[in-house]
Amino acid sequence: MAQDNRRPLGVRVAVTSHVSLVGLCTMAGFAALPPAHAQSTAGANTPPTAGTVLDTTTEPMPSADALTGEVVEPKLEPPVVVSSAEVVPPPEVAALTQPTTVVVLIRVTAEGAIAWVRLKQSGGSVFDEAVMTAATRFEFIPATFAGEPVEVEIEYKQTFVPPEITEPVGAATDSVLAGTIVEKGTRRALASIRIAVTVDTELFETVTNPEGKFEIALPHGDAVVEVYSYEHKGFRVQEVLEPEQRLDVRYLIERQSYNPYEVVVIGKRERHVVARTTLRDREIKQVPGTFGDPFRVVSTLPGVGNVISLLAYPIVRGTSPGSTGFLLDGVRVPQLFHMLAGPAVIHPEFIDRVDFYPGSFPVEYGGYTGGIVDGITHRTRADEGRFDGHIDLTNAGLFLRGPIEPLGITGTIAGRYGYPGLLLNLLNTGAYASYWDYQAQIDGGGDDRWWRAFAFGSFDELGEVNSLGERTTMAGAQFHRVDLTYFVGQGEFVDTYKLVLGFDQTEADNANEALTTLSVEPRARWSYRITEDVLLNAGVELMARRFSGEVGPSGEAAKLQLESHMIGGGAFAALAWHPAERLLVIPGIRTDVYSNDEATQMGADPRLLWRYRLQANEDGEIWLKGGLGLYHQPPRFLVPLPGFEELALRYGLLQSVQTTLGVEAPLFGDFALDTQVYFNWMDPILFDLSYSVVGDDTDSLTADDLFQERVGRSYGIEILLKHHGRDALFGWLSYTLSWSEREEHGQWVPFDFDRRHMLNLVAGISLPRNWDVAMRLSLQSGRPAPSGGRVDPFYRIDIRIDKRAVWNDWLLDFYVDIVNATLSAERLDSDPDSGLRYTLPTVGFRAVF
């Protein structure tokens, strides 16, 4: 980081510190407790642990004063400072325009040493570091309680005050320097920025106003202008001031670091779920190997396996991809990813966070027996404006958002066009592919009532190219949605009313065969607090679909015409109930009905989730949690495809019983541990993803195999160690030990995609000068091989490097993302020659205005 250690001439740096050890010792943060509440976790001969006062086995009793006979209670004596290291003010003090205070907590041991220093109130990163560095060198005489040394926590406060503005006495000023200080790249006007101008040897200073403007009277001559802000890099220019001149300027100063993601203060809300992992910001946009696609990041979480590593559709706790719901704001997306390992069909800028449930999801979600991946869009701000364009080796896209002031609404349009055919041509595969997607959204309304109209769609095409360059389309898929939503309420009490209209189509054989679905899906959700301890969540969902199709060999005059209708609906209700202060119980019930021309099926899903707060300390809260529930879904195709929904309803609903037991605990620093054990019983299973023979002696997979009912079970342990801080580091370590099995001929055999061990390490760090570097290591043991045994274990290393270049009025993001950087081989069978080696290097550019 470039340093400018110069200070303006004549500036007197003033620092005041407020050390209130004695007074602050009596504050709530002090861990010493009066004897009546003393707790001991140690034996009589071991030192007291942090937070304790006495060993209760040797608890001193009140004694009588020798002279007066008066009963004297044991007394606390606070620690005494014997030497305090000087807090060295950082150079950035010169840039302050108002005082800033840093408060730290210091734990002083019974020996008078410093156990740790933690930041309680930040005054800015450079000032925090100066105070914490000094505090680690303090020396104390330890605190005592009833004459015995004890370990305590104390507060230390340090305030840095800005230097006084210098005004030369008697200076003759006949010129004016006026202008605006603007942040380079974002064009944001900067308030309270210190400006120092030196003309000859005289120093003049001023501060910008809330609009970032300043005006200062100066003598004419050569002037050196310096701008000071500890959040920005040093700035210095030279100006020539003529007599009787007003010089207007506009200075662009560059921030020390440009975080592509807004720092959102996430309020602590009570969690009403058991097995959910939420990812946001860098966690969904900068994970290597995911192409910046929020939905692909789910593959790095516990409980998630894959068919092969290139395909994004996950195997969640041993279930087929068709059993896991991919949703956008709770609404099913008929096709989530473009073909040929393409990106998701929704531009990532719409996604605020991704909620992932590997199982035990609440009654708000229905119609799935595997997991839930729900991308949540964020509510646009009334003044939000953004232009984002990107291009890389496989696709290009635009995102534009801005207020439409005459109408009082915010409008957004976005789209992408994919050209994987270029890469296919380079590889001389004789295949071609292309895709595009679009999104258009308008938002309006106020704080407690607002609405959104969101239209989005996708088109994919895959075919062959002959030697003459003529194209033949082999397969195509498209869908279009209009989502109209009305929100009422604020905070956790937001009722939603939604209507979704849809058109889905899948084509094959050069459009000679096509399956089309039209759909209407209204739904409503409400939240209502019944009492202080009971919250009710309820909802209703309806669905009507018309399915039509034309199948038959090309050239045939008479084709088979298909047409059917499906209607359905669901209702749910759940109570979030606190029978005790530490216990949260969430019983819920959901019912779903599906009816088409062939059959009517109904499922009732009672579910119970609970959370128990075991302990709360300065690091956070430790929770025990669990869930037990019944889950139903209609039969679906192996992977989501438009027009293929809810096939073969006459075969009945799939069903699973899911159980989860786990613990959440904060660890050192900003790390937290989430561990779960689970057991799922699946009976029946239909459309199970399989490449092995089922139930007969033939060598090929037949349609009867697909429709045959199966019974399955899966169980295991999932561990997630995640960094939750919002500093330079992000990442997590996930590990799954799992068994996924199917019953065959009375015996349990491994599921075709059973993997015993799955390990993922995601780690990223922000470096100076707007660099971000991230790495992902994926390691998984082999799944059963078609020819017997198991395939070899597979590992993959992905790397991503982001750089943000700052121009005067815009920002350019440049990134390199390499999937499988070391070209490790992924075996498809026991045969070593069956390995698949691939690498996907991508270079991308993204402009932000």
């Binding site: 506009r250 490097i801 390199v816 070391t822 690498t839």
Partner: protein, 222 residues
């Protein structure tokens, strides 16, 4: 008439542009606070992309080839004289040997001058290639026609970078590398015993030693 109209238009445009000039003064960024050469000597993260062309010096049984080579170089400038970096190199091979060669190496670098640097590295590689001019017959002197295995890699590189600014530099490089790949390939040998055809699996193993020399153009950022 046209001259008068032109004069009026000029006056209007001039007054308009004058109004814009006073309303929005030209933006200025800071003068350089440190020299660009000093900036590049400072410790910190470095990233470079390079594109090059290399030729493999053939020595049997290794087939000859030429390659286009995109590479990614990631590293950290430790002092004003030394760096530590890693290179991921992907060689797209053509000629007698078609396929892809990958290597990942760890490389200390000595910065002799501001622009001139010498690098040496060791690492791991992968070779996925097949011969275009030969196919294997199962004989006593059989030569592999394909290879898909891991390898040991050593390289040396000299680079000269022109400091375009504080953040960007570019320049040529000359690179030598050696890759030793233990190739194993399995073939099926068909033999007739009377009326019965028998298939025997034959595993052939050989070492392929690639010695390549290449020229690159490097684009570096800090």
């Amino acid at each position: 008439m046209s001259l008068r109209l032109g004069a009026v238009c000029s006056l209007v445009l001039a007054s308009t542009s004058a109004a814009f000039a006073s309303d929005s003064p030209k933006a200025r960024i800071s003068d350089d606070l440190i020299d660009k050469h000093q900036a590049w000597r400072e410790p910190g993260f470095r990233l470079a992309l390079s594109f090059g062309y290399e030729t493999n010096l053939a020595s049997p049984p290794t087939p000859a080839s030429t390659s286009w080579v995109p590479s990614l170089h990631v590293g950290w400038r430790l002092t004003d004289r030394f760096s530590l970096s890693s290179t991921l190199r992907y060689s797209v091979m053509g000629g007698s040997l078609s396929g892809l060669r990958f290597s990942g190496t760890l490389e200390p670098t000595w910065h002799i001058t501001d622009g001139f640097a010498v690098t040496g590295g060791l690492g791991y590689g992968v070779l996925m290639g097949s011969r275009t001019d030969y196919y294997t017959e199962i004989t006593d002197n059989a030569v592999l026609s394909a290879c898909d295995d891991g390898a040991l890699v050593a390289l040396a590189r000299v680079t000269y970078l022109f400091r375009v600014g504080h953040l960007f530099a570019t320049g040529p490089a000359l690179q030598l590398d050696s890759q030793w790949t233990s190739c194993t390939d399995t073939y099926e040998s068909y033999e007739w015993y009377g009326d019965e055809e028998r298939v025997t699996e034959v595993a052939l193993q050989d070492w392929w030693w690639h010695k390549t020399i290449g020229v690159l153009w490097v684009f570096a950022w800090r």
